[in-house]
């Protein structure tokens, strides 16, 4: 059993704190350093995007393990007129068009190299990292009023879950 739920303010330094908490909690349940890193990276990349492109306010973060899969969810609000929501949807469509996540990762790196605004392109790189390096599937649920919930899921073998009492 693993369930973390936190509501934090959208301040950059808090991301590192959440990341460390993810590493500690996941390693307490799973004896798998690579899984710990992947989930910590996934958590940090989703939170970084929420802080960069969301409105200043609260970000709700959760990580849970249930029925053989770990899910990381980050919910926040974006300004509906900022264009950030449309950019996110376009980016996800672009990523999902690749059959192989590693091909998407390479293509995203090439885009960064050619981008007029590389920093903007880096958020797309973060999403691709989550599916390629993190081995997760990604889903986005967004309302017209600008509430965005990003979900990253990854199957985890039950055998690697800790049994310690």
């Amino acid at each position: 059993m693993l369930k973390i739920e936190l509501t934090i303010s959208s301040d950059w330094p808090r991301i590192a704190t959440v990341r460390q908490a993810v590493v500690q909690c996941v390693s307490a349940v799973f004896q798998d350093p690579a899984l710990c890193h992947d989930l910590a990276m996934t958590s940090a990349e989703l939170l970084e995007n929420a802080v960069k492109y969301g409105v200043q306010g609260e970000v709700v973060f959760s990580l849970s393990y249930e029925r053989g899969a770990v899910e990381v969810r980050v919910a926040n609000s974006v300004n509906p007129t900022s264009g950030n929501l449309e950019a996110l949807k376009r980016r996800l469509d672009w990523i999902f068009a690749f059959g192989d996540p590693s091909e998407a990762y390479i293509a995203a790196m090439e885009q960064v190299a050619l981008a007029a605004n590389p920093e903007r392109a880096s958020s797309g790189l973060g999403l691709v990292r989550i599916i390629s390096e993190g081995g997760c599937s990604l889903e986005c649920d967004a309302t017209e009023r600008g509430r965005v919930v990003m979900s990253a899921k990854r199957p985890v073998q039950v055998a690697s879950a800790g049994r310690s009492s």
Partner: protein
Amino acid sequence: MTAYSEGDLRIESTPTEHGLQLTWLGRSNARHPGKTLVPFFDRIAGQVKGTGGGIEMRFDSLEEINSSTLTAVIQLIQRLKGSQSKLTLIYDPDVTWQRMSFEALQVFARQGLVKIQPAIKGPDAGARPG
């Protein structure tokens, strides 16, 4: 000697017979790493320019990197395009995130812009940072 220090990231610089070795240490998790890393890279490129030496960046002791930092590394690769200074990136192939990120960066190696190599381990790996 510490050549760069910002937040949780430190980069140590060591002159070698082939140029300059930069060892990345800690965690690279800044919001705008390019703002300080890109000018730092420009300074380093200026130091080796005209010496015939290259820049070797060792990431194998780095604990984590965010996509904004990967973006700054890609910017460096692009900025050295056409330069005489050769850039080599060394990573730890046993660390999943390093292997996956640096294997993806091989796209720039195939374009002849950078050399990307796994760290040599074992008793002969004297140069590997602690």
